[in-house]
Symmetry: C2
Subunit: 332 residues, 2 copies
């Protein structure tokens, strides 16, 4: 399960291959990554798993790589973007719900008191999610999400949310695909909140997105077959749910997994627990200047000390955003 630093032959092979690949393409496949242990570890892993004859060769069908979304592929501060979407939806739907003016958590929200609205914890959150994510067809919800991601702007950066994706991770997913990997998202976020834009933004199609979901129901509306979104939780794709979601949707153990928080721990353990070469990576948000700096103390995207210890013990790569990334967001 651990990286074998002493596997010199493979190391040399990997570096040679990495050099050849770079030379052949005439350019660096990961231009936004600074040279260093993280970048080298990625190049070595890809070289040895894709070189026929290598002891670590993995046939293309088994080159499954899973990526967390919030905090791994795009930002997640000051709070999960899907929650910001839900808050915007509460405002948009308020005229149809006069009862919300004196019903919590909606009343507080509509007065602009987000903190007060979320004081009720998970129960308030679920109420807000169900009120804004259910009660329409899947086609209608897709349209709502598409419109939101093309217009709404982040409270701090004023960027579109899809502009707050990480350039180094875009390069990494593309690099893996170019080397025969199939890239999947495995996120605690809503599966249908991600699918409308993941193909355009990440190059990851809907059928390769795994996430949390609410139940749906097939029915004929005026003779037209549709799926209606119900206010009932179907699956929570977080923590121990991630390996379960991976098994349900993908049906094989990934050979590489990428995350950034305690919610990804079991996905990385499950990935590392398979036989043969495995690769696990965690993004550490230590860059207050270019993005955000948070970790063990943060409620959103907690990166606990115990996860950091486990990463070190297991030989997982921990990426320092500040040191390992040349740039964070894509330049327009």
């Amino acid at each position: 399960m651990k990286a074998h630093a002493t596997d010199t032959l493979n190391g040399v092979l990997a570096l040679a291959i990495a050099f050849v690949v770079t030379a052949a393409h005439g350019q660096d496949a990961l231009p936004s990554w600074n040279d260093g242990t993280a970048k080298t570890a990625i190049l070595e892993f890809v070289a040895k798993t894709t070189t026929e004859g290598s002891a670590d060769f993995v046939p293309p069908a088994h080159r499954i790589a899973t990526f967390d979304n919030d905090g791994t592929l795009w930002a997640e501060q000051p709070m999960y973007f899907q929650l910001l979407f839900a808050l915007d939806r509460v405002k948009a739907l308020a005229p149809e719900h006069p009862e919300w003016t004196d019903k919590e958590p909606f009343a507080a929200l509509l007065k602009g008191d987000v903190k007060g609205a979320l004081a009720g914890g998970e129960r308030s959150m679920v109420e807000i999610i169900m009120a804004t994510h259910a009660g329409m067809t899947t086609d209608e919800f897709e349209k709502i999400v598409k419109e939101w991601v093309s217009t709404a702007r982040h409270p701090k950066t004023r960027k579109l949310y899809t502009e707050m994706v990480y350039q180094p991770m875009l390069e990494l997913t593309a690099y893996l695909r170019a080397n025969g990997f199939k890239t999947f998202i495995v996120s605690g976020g809503g599966i249908e909140f991600m699918r409308p834009w993941t193909e355009r933004v990440y190059g990851i199609p809907p059928e390769q997105v795994v996430g949390s979901s609410i139940k749906t129901k097939f029915e004929l509306q005026g003779g037209k077959p549709v799926l209606v979104r119900l206010p009932e939780v179907n699956f929570i794709d977080d923590k121990t749910g991630k390996p379960v979601g991976i098994n349900e949707h993908i049906g094989r153990r990934p050979i590489a997994a990428f995350g950034n928080s305690d919610g990804d721990r079991q996905m990385l353990e499950y990935t590392a627990g398979g036989s043969g070469t495995r690769f696990c990576l965690l993004v550490h948000h230590d860059d207050a200047e270019r993005e955000f700096a948070y970790g063990a103390e943060s409620k959103i995207g907690t990166f606990s000390d115990s996860l950091m210890s486990e990463a070190k013990d297991e030989g997982w790569v921990v990426v320092s955003m500040k040191n390992d990334w040349k740039s964070v967001f894509p330049s327009k």
Copy 2:
């Protein structure tokens, strides 16, 4: 939703393309299909959805085709093969379960009285499935299934079950893939009962298999991260469940769907209900000599009169196994 027989331009285009494709490859892509309306409809659909500039052109990412398994890709008589697997497992596990000798439905089964064991209906079935499909890790279950499909033989033909797949359908799935389609299985059968062999037999990888499932739980067994199969239903992928499963796993509406029974009706309706060109096909088992003949009266794979009427009204292709297929099973 209906085929436009009057769309002459597209028809001519399709036939021209079909001719060119055949000529270019120097061979028929569907050699086990007799010339006739079914084969022509398939060739026309593929030609017009894959020809750039055609009014019906569909970009590759949207070329999603879903196939039922039991009765559509492989046989399902005298009963679903997964049920035969479960019966074999009851026998194999009996030594570990002395209590089964006087506990139904197991007692009857162990005396060889299948009919008596299943007399309890769905409740008996669920008990048998849970006793044989749960209580082990996903890796262990995969191993059990792999061994069974490579050794167990069909009671009538004495073939391996994976030799009772339909040659014309193998050609059809390969033909669609060669034309940029992504092929999925959407079956009422168990997702983890199919995945161990669908890639080898059908060319359909685990991540493109949708099916019924039981719940699983992540845990560490002696430090090793595994998923344990629990005796609890997670999802039934049949009838109205098929569009739900398609949405959950694929996240887009298919443009082509293939089935053979009432269990596939909603999948075909959901597929046909999208905008643009759609293709729906039902296999009709009318070939007692080479396979089995059954339909409205059969408990397994019911093809009701109302489904037949709907197929005619909607312009869905109904394949007569007897007339449309040159051969049924692959020759070794």
